[in-house]
């Protein structure tokens, strides 16, 4: 096991209260494996990875519990100096906006050479040769000539290539790519994703790909964790997740995006409502308020991330690899037929109303949570 995140809890203390950003998240990554973390803004996918890197914004962000085992060493307990040495060399990271993650006043050469020499005892000349090699590897024409350029002289796609070159400079074991192509145009996204996939496969780098785009993870990853409001709500191999989504949120996401290969008039089924206010500690399932499948207990009990099918006696949960166990954190998982429809299909079933008196728990007191029921489905033909 390369990386094992165990019951990670991250909170932010702000002026407006404590934000429960990550609420006990566990996941594993094997060597050379690609894991997708999918979810919307505020679901905790970026925060959990900043926590892995110990780069949470200070002083607000805190790891309040759990372990991050990287090659069996708990990163949460590592001294800062050791952590600094590990960053970049063992675990590298690329971000959404390559303009802000490259230093604008330094040339590409200075930044690349500095990265290499910070971790490897090589001469400046050797580091420079390696830098040229890296730029060529990420597809930058005339790499020796471009070495002296400043970040602003590159286009967005080129800057992201440079970021990839820097991230892979030291052949890290794990690459965390946080929305690496969200800021890019779709044709440039295709270029960068192809590059990322080719290089990490060649070097055997494990990748955690963080994105909100289900299309991107479908082509890029082997396993996927779907996150919502600081919880992993569904974990499966990519093939299983798309073929048989079981969590109402996953099903909802798949039905709320228009697909290029769908019939033009296929209606979208939106997930109603808005994500919960993370300042309120979760009491039930975080998705309950927006869920069409919810049962009364969903309001009051947090569902554990358990195997979808009860395990055979003696068998254990597989958290990594192509045979990873399909797990879902739901008291009332979606059936295969319902997953295709995007709605519950059970005689007499209706979503459980919120328990009386507990409304304030579900609804943030000072956000206008109420959204009227969309009459679209009734009025449109």
């Amino acid at each position: 096991m390369l990386l094992s995140v165990r019951d990670l809890i991250v909170r932010f203390r702000t002026h407006d209260g404590t934000v429960h950003a990550v609420n006990g998240v566990s996941f594993d990554v094997d060597e050379g494996e690609t894991l997708g973390l999918v979810g919307e803004s505020g679901c905790g996918k970026s925060v959990s990875n900043l926590a892995i890197m110990r780069l949470l914004p200070r002083p607000a962000g805190h790891i309040e519990g759990g372990q991050v085992l990287f090659e069996d060493v708990d990163l949460t307990k590592l001294p800062e100096a050791d952590m600094r040495d590990l960053r970049g060399r063992e675990i590298a990271m690329i971000f959404q906006d390559p303009m802000t993650s490259l230093n604008p006043v330094l040339t590409i050469e200075e930044q690349l050479v500095e990265t290499i020499r910070a971790h490897r005892p090589v001469t400046a000349a050797a580091a420079r040769t390696r830098a040229i090699e890296l730029l060529g590897m990420v597809g930058i024409a005339q790499p020796a000539g471009r070495l002296r350029s400043y970040p602003h002289e590159f286009s967005g796609g080129m800057r992201q290539r440079v970021m990839i070159a820097m991230a892979l400079a030291l052949q890290p074991k794990l690459l965390i790519a946080d929305e690496p192509t969200t800021a890019l145009d779709v044709t440039i996204q295709a270029q960068v994703l192809e590059l990322l996939q080719r290089l990490t496969t060649e070097q055997g780098t494990a990748v955690i790909l963080i994105t909100h785009d289900l299309g991107v993870v479908a082509g890029m990853t082997r396993r996927i964790n779907v996150m919502y409001a600081g919880f992993v709500v569904e974990a499966a191999t990519t093939a299983n997740l798309f073929a048989a989504p079981r969590h109402p949120y996953t099903v909802g996401l798949l039905h709320s995006i228009p697909r290029l290969d769908a019939a033009v008039d296929e209606p979208l089924i939106p997930i109603e409502g808005v994500p919960p206010d993370l300042r309120i500690p979760p009491v039930g399932c975080a998705f309950a308020a927006r869920c069409a499948w919810r049962l009364p207990r969903c309001w009051t009990e947090i569902p554990p991330l358990d195997p979808l099918v009860p395990l055979e006696p003696g068998a254990s949960v597989r958290t990594t690899g192509p045979a990873a166990t399909h797990r879902v954190a739901c008291w009332n998982p979606v059936t295969a037929e319902e997953a295709g429809l995007g709605a519950p299909r059970r005689p007499g079933f209706s979503a459980a109303p919120p328990p009386t008196g507990s409304r304030d728990v579900v609804v943030a007191a000072d956000t206008p949570e109420a959204v009227l029921v969309e009459p679209a489905e009734a009025s449109s033909p």
Binding site: F12, T14, H15, P57, A60, G252, P267, I269, I271, E272, G273, A289, R290, C291, A292, L341, G342, A343, P344, R345, S350, A351, P353, P354, R359, V362, V363, A364, A365, D366, T367, P368, E369, A370, V371, L372, V373, E374, E377, A378, S380
Partner: protein
């Protein structure tokens, strides 16, 4: 699609809306340094307003027999060269500082907003001309400008207010113009244009209310500078010029000679200047954060 999930309408009880300012004020109250600043300002304002009630003695009349006495129970801050009660003089000095500070900043705001709004609102050649003029004014150090104005207009409270106020006007004008220019590109202004709003409406409803926020912060911070500038002018002998009037800067000048044997005469007015200036500074910084919470996590 009748099979779409029927979501339960979860309602939060509607409550009276908090305006942006009330929200900002709430945040301000949670900011400890700003709270301390508010306390300092409160002390300063109460001293100024209630000086006639609080002062134990007449600040203008002294008893020469009691010249330069250290702090005693009868005279908590001691007495000055002419035997006047120092506490009373410090309290009355707050009146001048507050009055001059408020009026000077108001002067500066008045001229600055007019110039800035015209420059940022009209743009073009008008903008260029107005901004070159403010550039020239900005190039002259504020206190020098104020000295020049007092020197040419003569001594007096009004002159000081005008002098300090005019030296602030270009700062406010620049600030307002800058915000207006940035706001003109904002989507909500484009939205107003696409709705068919007239230029005047856009300026009054959309641009100015949003541009005033940084101005209010700047004005609060300017109060701190104004108090120091007024004291500075007084210290340089450009104060009200009436020896009966207690003014912190002049009090400092008068007592500087006695630094050796009566340091308290420097200490108390000096502390009054520092505390009131710090108060406005802390509140100004707090307001900046409270109004724009993005600056602080």
């Amino acid at each position: 699609m009748s099979s779409a999930p029927t979501s339960v309408v979860v309602r939060a009880a509607p409550r009276a809306s908090r305006g942006l300012w009330r929200d900002a004020f709430q945040r301000l109250l949670r900011n400890r340094p700003a709270l301390l600043g508010l306390f300092f300002i409160a002390v300063f304002v109460i001293a100024a307003v209630l000086a006639p009630l609080l002062a134990p003695d007449d600040p203008a009349v002294g008893n020469l027999a009691l010249s330069k006495q250290g702090p005693t129970l009868a005279h908590l801050m001691g007495t000055d060269l002419l035997g006047r009660d120092e506490l009373s003089r410090v309290l009355f000095g707050a009146r001048i500082s507050l009055l001059v500070g408020v009026v000077a900043v108001a002067f500066g705001l008045f001229f600055g907003v007019i110039v800035g709004a015209i420059a940022g609102g009209v743009g073009g050649a008008v903008d260029t001309v107005l901004m070159r003029v403010t550039d020239v004014l900005l190039a002259i150090p504020g206190i020098l400008l104020a000295i020049g104005i007092v020197a040419s207009l003569g001594h007096g409270q009004i002159q000081i207010m005008l002098a300090v106020g005019i030296s602030y006007a270009p700062i406010f004008a620049r600030l307002l113009r800058g915000s207006l220019l940035a706001l003109r590109e904002a989507d909500f202004v484009t939205a107003a244009r696409s709705e068919g709003a007239s230029p005047a409406r856009i300026l009054l409803r959309h641009l100015l209310p949003n541009a005033l926020t940084p101005l209010i912060v700047a004005a609060t911070l300017a109060m701190a500078t104004a108090i120091i500038d007024v004291a500075g002018l007084g210290f340089l002998g450009l104060g009200p010029g009436d020896p009966r009037v207690a003014e912190w800067g002049e009090m400092l000048t008068d007592s500087a000679r006695f630094l050796q044997n009566a340091p308290y005469l420097i200490l108390f007015p000096g502390a009054a200047i520092v505390i009131s200036a710090i108060g406005f500074n802390l509140v100004g910084d707090g307001l900046r954060e409270a109004i724009d919470p993005r600056l602080k996590r």
